[in-house]
Symmetry: D3
């Protein structure tokens, strides 16, 4: 039995549930997917500050997973917070949803558009696109200006995201759309049907990427930069 943890690095359990449902829906037989909520940190990630402050909670979750022998991890926030540190801690593979979503979308044509929540998160998406070599595929970054937690509660949310996707594809002349927030995972299919263009959700894409890596027996190379961090006496917050 392969065990994959999909870690929501914010503390909002409702969001973890949505994510877990989406991730489980695509997992192969014999793969057990669990949604895990970060135990401390921000309730949603909408700034560099939120993101930075979410990382210790995320890494604590990775450490719990290691203690339980988890086979691989998804970081379920489109900023891919703490990815490098998580790769140092984990024995198995760790994949961010931005990483997986962009690479998946790169298979679907010449270029894709990203549609995210708040405009202030676009800078981070650009940075990640470059890091993963995906800038050349990303034709435009768009925001629907819906706060993360409103995605679940605002009855207009799906409609607004759908319209943002439609406009993005027109303006960018792109072949596909990437949804730029884990909280949009459950809108993916509906938007795609609505606008007639492939739409990629990072939660499912990353879950399947981890599953594939585990199947192939592949994990982070541990001989250099990503070796287990040297053990140290940390000073704890008073």
């Amino acid at each position: 039995m392969t065990r994959i943890w999909v870690i929501n690095p914010n503390t909002t359990r409702a969001m973890t549930s949505t994510i877990e449902v989406c991730a489980r829906a695509v997992a192969a037989a014999g793969v057990d997917v669990t949604g895990v909520t970060s135990e401390f940190g921000p309730p949603s990630i909408e700034s560099h500050y939120d993101e930075a402050m979410s990382v210790p909670g995320l890494l604590a979750a990775i450490q719990r997973g290691e203690a339980e022998g988890v086979d691989g991890y998804v970081i379920a926030c489109f900023g891919d917070p703490g990815l490098d540190a998580a790769r140092e801690l984990a024995t198995g593979p760790v994949i961010g949803i931005a990483e997986a979503a962009m690479q998946t979308a790169s298979h679907l044509g010449r270029g894709f558009s990203i549609v995210t929540t708040l405009g202030r998160t676009i800078g981070r998406a650009e940075e990640l696109a470059e890091r993963y070599g995906m800038s050349r595929f990303c034709r435009g970054y768009h925001a629907c200006e819906i706060p993360v937690l409103d995605l679940e509660t605002d009855p207009m949310a799906t409609k607004l995201v759908t319209e943002a996707c439609r406009e993005a594809v027109e303006r960018d002349r792109s072949d596909a759309v990437v949804l730029g927030c884990a909280g949009m995972a459950d809108m993916c299919k509906r938007i795609s049907e609505e606008i007639g263009v492939p739409v990629v959700d990072g939660v499912t894409a990353a879950t399947l990427t981890v599953q594939s890596l585990v199947t192939m027996g592949l994990r982070t190379g541990k001989r250099g930069e990503f070796a287990t961090p040297p053990a140290k006496e940390y000073v704890h917050k008073a």
Copy 2:
């Protein structure tokens, strides 16, 4: 039942068998993987000329697959021949093994090395790395100078490829290795154990990428560049 064809774009059936075994070994329950040999063209692909001449046979295989309702395709040659044309023809996703191998290796650390057969194929690997946004991850291109078909018959082949991988990792200080030929698929695990570094084979990586795309219901965007080609009266070779 999901059906995936792994198309060997050269005409050597023995090589298709090896490829098929490797691809089947990783497929999920409910996914049927078939190795398909190109019906005409070169017996191995070791030059731009071989590669160009392999494309019509590959595309004919895609057309047969479409007639049979195949769900997705792998192009099992590290030059990813005919990828764009295949995406125009196919309804489902098409993935090249260089594309899948490089993206997979990008998840395993800061950088990887590529080890291919003949030195003259390195230029093509460089070109593909750039196309897929993977140049930034690829720290070195290396050749073991074994012709493709000798990989199966030369008793020293695995040992030579292993040594080339070991040297590549040392010289490039890389975190992983990508094997640059479909004919190396069955060496992958052994080399990794031997050198203690993750080694990626494109055949399995691409098969799992196609499987994941089909699971997510994703296929090539068809509204622009990759729409079905306009029907035309071709002149056939006399």
Copy 3:
């Protein structure tokens, strides 16, 4: 006497005639330029599939040329199909019209615009611009949405292409225009006069590039990637 073949990789002889007239018009004294039509393949190249399927016919033409001792070749389609394979086969230089047109236009200012036929060919133009190092000069890719073969028959064609060029220059603030189809070769001068901006046709640019290379005694380096392909027994189409 220097002999240059300008190969039209589609099978439409009328188009070869136009191309030949344009190429001959610029050749120096003592240089014999012949338009050669591919003997099999698509009647026009408007998709990746068309392009891929045009390559064997093009390469067969190169092989005929080699048998006749031709000094250099132009590939007269803006997708530069089969360029690398042709360079392996040919003793003398081989130049694509996209390659020559873009490099020529790079001498005329800070940046140029490309105006091509169908929008679906723009992806290939982008790819080639990058391959030749010309992305930094190309400020915009534009399509006039006229199918290739209509360029000769549609009485409005020149006017429509001219307007597309005029708009492209305005929008991109560019110094020159590159015509993105061999079938536009004979419109070049007229458009330039009309819009008051230098307009580059790849057929003449490539013919003169080949002529210059032959004059300097330069040909493809043959010690590595572009050495003559290893001889092999191919399987022919049933």
Copy 4:
């Protein structure tokens, strides 16, 4: 009176002292520079994990500084941890020492070499060089394999770093050296005299960059990505 805080994001006070001495030595009249030690987190930063875990302590220091009306901040670790989040929190400018050191070295010639502590930190330096647009100036990344805290205690440290710098300059044919650790700040002058090449320390470079920005009245743009983060109820660690 302008007040600048140079924040050491690890918890080792001795290192802060060294840093403070170096920073004060270059400050202009009327500029008060204070070294500030992070109150919790790792004793030294030698992995992605250490770096991620140092960020909350660093950001808490920024928040204390804001309460006290500090004019600008230096992040005194060559990984520039938490830079984006710090810019959201701070009213005045925030500069990382890698950022300042690389940009300073870019003024001194065509290219520089970076000499850091442990080889495993090189990946982060590469990433930052790209982020700041400095990859084109950085000709080589080198490690002397001395742990951060040994820089102060190992009597051979200066000699070893000096030799690493000398070799780096020879191998890379570079015009200058960047020291890749705040703990090397006090070696800077001596190494430069020893090897006859300009050597840049990021602590002094960043202090002067902050001082210059404050003098010019420049601070982070606050209308978009770097606006103050939205206030939220965080869950605290149990």
Copy 5:
């Protein structure tokens, strides 16, 4: 006493005065800043020709400065004319105002806009942005189409430049503005207050960069490309 010369490479003394006032206003105690007017060449720099013809006068000023033991130099024209040659001649650091302005603006957010005088100078700004690694930060190049010398005499000039800055920031969604002409130095503060976005003037930025380099004892590396030029007998203009 540190002595810095801010060299105006055109021959218009009124412009030098404005520049000198701005530069002196930011210099630290103990730093003597002198505005120096080029003794021959163009009255303003608005073309590649003007720029090329300004270089000998600029270099003559550097040579006078060297004879007087000047510690560092600013080249006060946004084309940074003669920068490499000046670095060969000078013992101390030499900084161009485009170089300093762009690097300074890179500290203020994700991206900035450049607003220059005539549209025909934009090409040079693009070239410099690339040279300094700043292309990734520059989101747009804009011209207000006011000739350089009219900046001081046209009563509408500040208003027009302000409006150009406001529009640039809106269109580019940028965090800061860079003023693309030394003649705009004295407008900087007012524009920033007007539009509520940080605005960077290269004259002050470069003066402070030189001051910082001198404080740190840093100067151009002299072992390779920027060594003193070999002495030669030049032919002088008849």
Copy 6:
């Protein structure tokens, strides 16, 4: 009759003679090529200072050429000094020898090596390679450390340059060599025969590029950046 001036921007007439002989040898019937020596400036160009000081003499030569109705110009120094300014002044095309040599070599394989005179000129070659989009083709920059004027007088010069070329090709695994100095023009054929690899001389390449542009009726776009410079009263050197 087409008239092309090949301008040697240094004042050494013997070098102009060599250049003229090489350029004339490749010109087509009906094309008159004249070598022109700069009337003032440095006797050879081996530093940024030499290069900057050569530009006014070069531009004066262009102005004389314009008065005589010359059709196009070659700038015969591998630093391509004054290229942009010359393009503003000239009605017809202007080509630098580095520009032409690199683009010509890009047609001959995947990559080339550059062999220049003094190591201190390599920085400029790198800069030009980037400007022309040729960095991706240039696999290595090498110096033979022979001063420019010794190329004609040192009896060992050809041998030393040949060996530098041979080593460059081996080390870089490149397909061709570019000679990085106009003074090497007459060595080109001999080196190529000696080392069995295509060798490109910029003087002949640029002459043929200009000839081709004139044949096609192409000249610098004059509607924007490269329009004739605004007329101004210059201050002349006392």
